[in-house]
């Protein structure tokens, strides 16, 4: 077995694909943490959006509607997280855990209800891919970047815009102040609670897009627990990327590669599936272990309580 069977164009393309849900979720987590809320519930939000996107696509016949509903689901769960942690000062990790359990239970429950099976839904129309003609003329990079789902390109736009927004606009400045020193934002006349709520919801919506990718682009149906811990891997990517948009994207590429590698090894059949499946999680731990004392979060995750 040559090394070429493992490392070639298709695995790099798979890397870009598998990085996409992580990019969305990592960006989402980043926005939440940048305003001071640690979003442990990314996993549940992704799963929930993945599910409802399929439901909507199934009943409407349109993947576009599925996409919209997936977005709305992310917003809804984000609103719950925001409400409970920002307005009612609940413990962020606990609420996030609750959201994860809810995502799992709700999707399985409704899947059973709608399709009679807890394991998987029926197939639906997937989201289209985009073909950019001029890319075909660029050697190596062209085929690598071409013909991906529109969500892949959307993820590129997302992190680029997030970078601009965070570091070059007044609202980005304000949201960073809200996270790093809410007192200073408050005395500057910024509505701290409003910023926190808005960006927790926005972050959750982004994470939801990651889920939509899994069920409408990567596959075209919903499977029980299909996020498989990606919400947590995204958190690791976010930390590894030092809570910056570009960092999140690059780290997601790394973890996406691990995911793609796992799938490739599985098709080659050289190891039992369970061993391969645990590789991304093992890599995540190794990555986290390598971040000795270098990760300083952008806020202290305490609720902001006006005196």
């Amino acid at each position: 077995m040559e090394i070429g069977a493992l490392f070639n164009l298709s695995i790099l393309q798979a890397t870009i694909r598998m990085a996409t849900p992580l990019t969305f979720a990592a960006l989402g987590g980043m926005f939440c943490e940048r305003v001071g809320v640690i979003n442990i519930g990314l996993e549940g939000i992704m799963l929930n959006s993945a599910f409802w996107a399929v439901v909507a696509a199934y009943f409407s016949g349109s993947s576009g509607i599925g996409f919209l509903v997936g977005v709305l689901s992310g917003m809804a769960l984000g609103a719950i997280l925001a409400l409970f942690t920002v307005k009612y000062y609940a413990d962020q990790i606990v609420i996030g855990t609750g959201i994860n359990i809810f995502g799992l239970g709700c999707s399985a429950f409704m899947c059973q209800k709608i399709w009679g099976s807890r394991g998987a839904s029926e197939a639906v129309a997937g989201l289209p891919s985009l073909s950019i003609s001029f890319l075909d003329r660029i050697p190596y990079l062209g085929p690598l970047l071409n013909n991906h789902s529109i969500l892949v390109y959307l993820s590129f736009l997302a992190f680029i815009f997030a970078h601009y927004f965070l570091f070059y606009t007044p609202w980005g400045l304000r949201l960073r102040a809200v996270g790093e020193n809410p007192q200073s934002a408050d005395t500057a006349g910024i509505n701290v609670h409003r910023y926190k709520m808005i960006f927790v919801i926005l972050g959750s919506t982004l994470a939801g897009l990651g889920g939509v990718f899994l069920s409408l682009a990567h596959l075209n149906f919903f499977a029980w627990g299909m996020t498989n811990g990606r919400g947590f891997i995204a958190l690791a990517a976010m930390i590894f990327g030092k809570w910056t948009p570009i960092g999140c994207f690059l780290a997601s590429l790394l973890f996406g590669f691990a995911d793609a590698l796992q799938m490739r090894i599985q098709t080659l059949g050289i190891l039992p599936p369970q061993i391969i499946l645990l590789l991304p999680y093992l890599i995540t731990i190794l990555v986290l272990a390598g971040l000795v004392g270098k990760a300083t979060p952008p806020s202290d995750y305490k609720p902001y309580i006006k005196k």
């Binding site: 020193n181 408050d186 006349g189 910024i190």
Partner: protein, 507 residues
């Protein structure tokens, strides 16, 4: 001249305390008005109410004769009121200009317009006669510079009335002089300044008039020409104030503690200590003076065993304890009153008795056998301590976070002084305490000294250091600049605290 700001009958109370009791305040336009009073007199609450951080229970606020309702700092700023707080509210990762314009940014379409912002701010700097590097990263600047950012923040928003809440606590004497010059420049520009302080010499240095508050009430307002330190002090405290405490006996010959050529590294936001050499004798209070942030915290942590030196040795009663852990030092009789009691001194969610035993819980008679608590002994121990230290609490099962600051500090003291204490390291022990608690604590320190033990008193309050210590060392940027006697001229202290070496000072 019409009053630019006036309060009539302003009242504000919190659960259990009437912070402002029908205060009538009149501030004239263009004056520098001092607001004097002790901890708990109500100065900060009054100004915070005017600034919109609190809503008053009763009373009115008038600006140029017109009644206004100030429901948030945002509104206060609209009325031209700006406030520079004790705790700087700056984002350390931002550049100076970003901190100044936060919330009122200069935009070009959707982006921040850095060039235009810098241009506008440079103009503001010249008008206000202030100097700062607008592009610098805030977290890397000195506290004095950071304070200037706060001033620029409110000037940028068009403040006409500037309120300063104890601005000099974080400044060296030289920076205080600079601040006073800034006040004068601002006054020349027609601004009105309200200057909260508890330091008489600063009030006298710059104010036109001064109002004294005591226990939430206004005692009176005087033009500065008619005021004397004694009169103001009496108005502040309500009785004749003793400016010095009985000193007690002379220190002994025996050396308890010796630091030899100590140096620590300056990583993780800690100040690096260098060339630390000093000794402490029995029956002695050694004061460590200096503006906060010059290594005091690190020195305390070093003596207690939380950080280890890179160079040098520490000798305690003749034994080399340089690398001993906190636990081993506690066993040998080193006690510590940390500077931020709620964060480092007590566990708020633990009860009084639980707090009293932290550090002792693994030894008999606190445990019987090897692991289990001896509850009857614990009960007896805590009742005894509560009585001995006059801790005012509903019972030993009360949660410490519900106690007042003074009582929390007493819990710390009671715990630290249990066991055979030979050396007490006290960091800012009276910070945030009311008069009664402060007196209690200071007397306790003298009592400990008179019992022949050693005390290292680290305090930013120079008066406290001078009235309690037998000798004083001044710390600046991690180095001991020199030793002075407590009777030395205050100006000499100021110079050492500002970075001059002892030779320059004594020359």
């Amino acid at each position: 001249m019409p009053e630019i700001l006036q309060t009539i009958g302003l009242t504000k109370s919190f659960p259990g305390v009437l912070a402002n009791d029908h205060i009538d305040l009149e501030i004239e336009e263009g004056e520098i008005h001092g607001l004097l009073g002790e901890n708990g007199a109500g100065k900060s609450v009054l100004m915070s109410t005017i600034y919109g951080l609190y809503r008053p229970d009763e009373g009115k606020i008038l600006i140029r004769g017109k009644e206004v309702v100030i429901d948030s700092p945002h509104t206060a700023i609209k009325y031209g009121i700006g406030m520079v707080h004790q705790n700087l509210t700056l984002v350390s990762s931002f550049r100076v200009w970003e901190n100044i314009v936060l919330g009122k940014e200069i935009k070009k379409t959707l982006s921040l317009d850095e060039r235009e912002t810098l241009r506008k701010l440079e103009k503001l700097l010249t008008v206000a006669n202030l100097e700062i590097d607008l592009r610098a990263k805030t977290g890397e600047l000195s506290l004095g510079s950071q304070q200037r950012i706060e001033i620029l923040k409110i000037l940028y928003r068009g403040a006409e009335i500037l309120i300063f809440d104890e601005p000099t606590t974080i400044l060296t004497p030289q920076e205080v002089d600079q601040l006073i010059n800034t006040f004068r420049s601002l006054k020349k520009e027609g601004k009105t300044i309200i200057f909260i302080s508890h330091k008489l010499r600063e009030i006298f240095a710059v104010c036109d008039r001064v109002t004294v508050l005591r226990k939430g009430r206004k005692v009176g307002t005087l033009p500065i020409e008619e005021a004397t330190p004694e009169k103001l002090a009496e108005m502040m405290v309500g009785r004749k104030v003793l400016f010095s405490l009985p000193r007690g006996r002379e220190p002994g010959e025996e050396i308890i503690l010796k630091l030899e050529d100590i140096a620590t590294s300056g990583e993780k936001k800690k100040v690096a200590l260098q060339d630390i050499n000093f000794t402490l004798h029995t029956g002695e209070i050694l004061g460590i003076a200096g503006v906060e942030g010059n290594g005091q915290k690190e020195l305390a942590e070093l003596m207690v065993g939380l950080i280890k030196p890179q160079k040098g040795r520490i000798f305690f009663q003749g034994e080399d304890i340089t690398f001993f852990s906190p636990k081993e030092r506690i066993k040998r009789g080193i006690a510590h009153i940390p500077e931020d009691r709620l964060r480092r001194g007590v566990i708020g969610d633990f009860t009084v008795w639980e707090n009293l035993i932290i550090g002792f819980e693994d030894q008999p008679p606190f445990v019987k056998g090897r692991f289990t608590f001896n509850h009857s002994f614990l009960k007896q121990f805590s009742s005894q301590k509560i009585e001995e230290f006059e801790i005012d609490a509903p019972g030993e099962d009360a949660l410490v976070k519900n106690l007042s600051g003074g009582n929390q500090q007493k819990v710390v003291l009671a715990r630290e002084l249990s066991g055979n204490v030979v050396l007490l390291v006290a960091s800012q022990p009276t910070r945030g305490l009311d008069i009664a608690a402060t007196e209690y604590l200071r007397n306790k320190l003298l009592e400990i000294k008179n019992q022949g033990k050693g005390v290292i008193l680290i305090s930013a309050d120079l008066d406290e250091i001078r009235s309690l210590s037998d000798r004083v060392l001044v710390l600046y940027e991690g180095k001991i600049m020199g030793e002075l006697s407590p009777e030395s001229d205050e100006y000499q202290f100021g110079l050492l605290m500002g970075g001059k070496s002892i030779d320059e000072v004594l020359a």
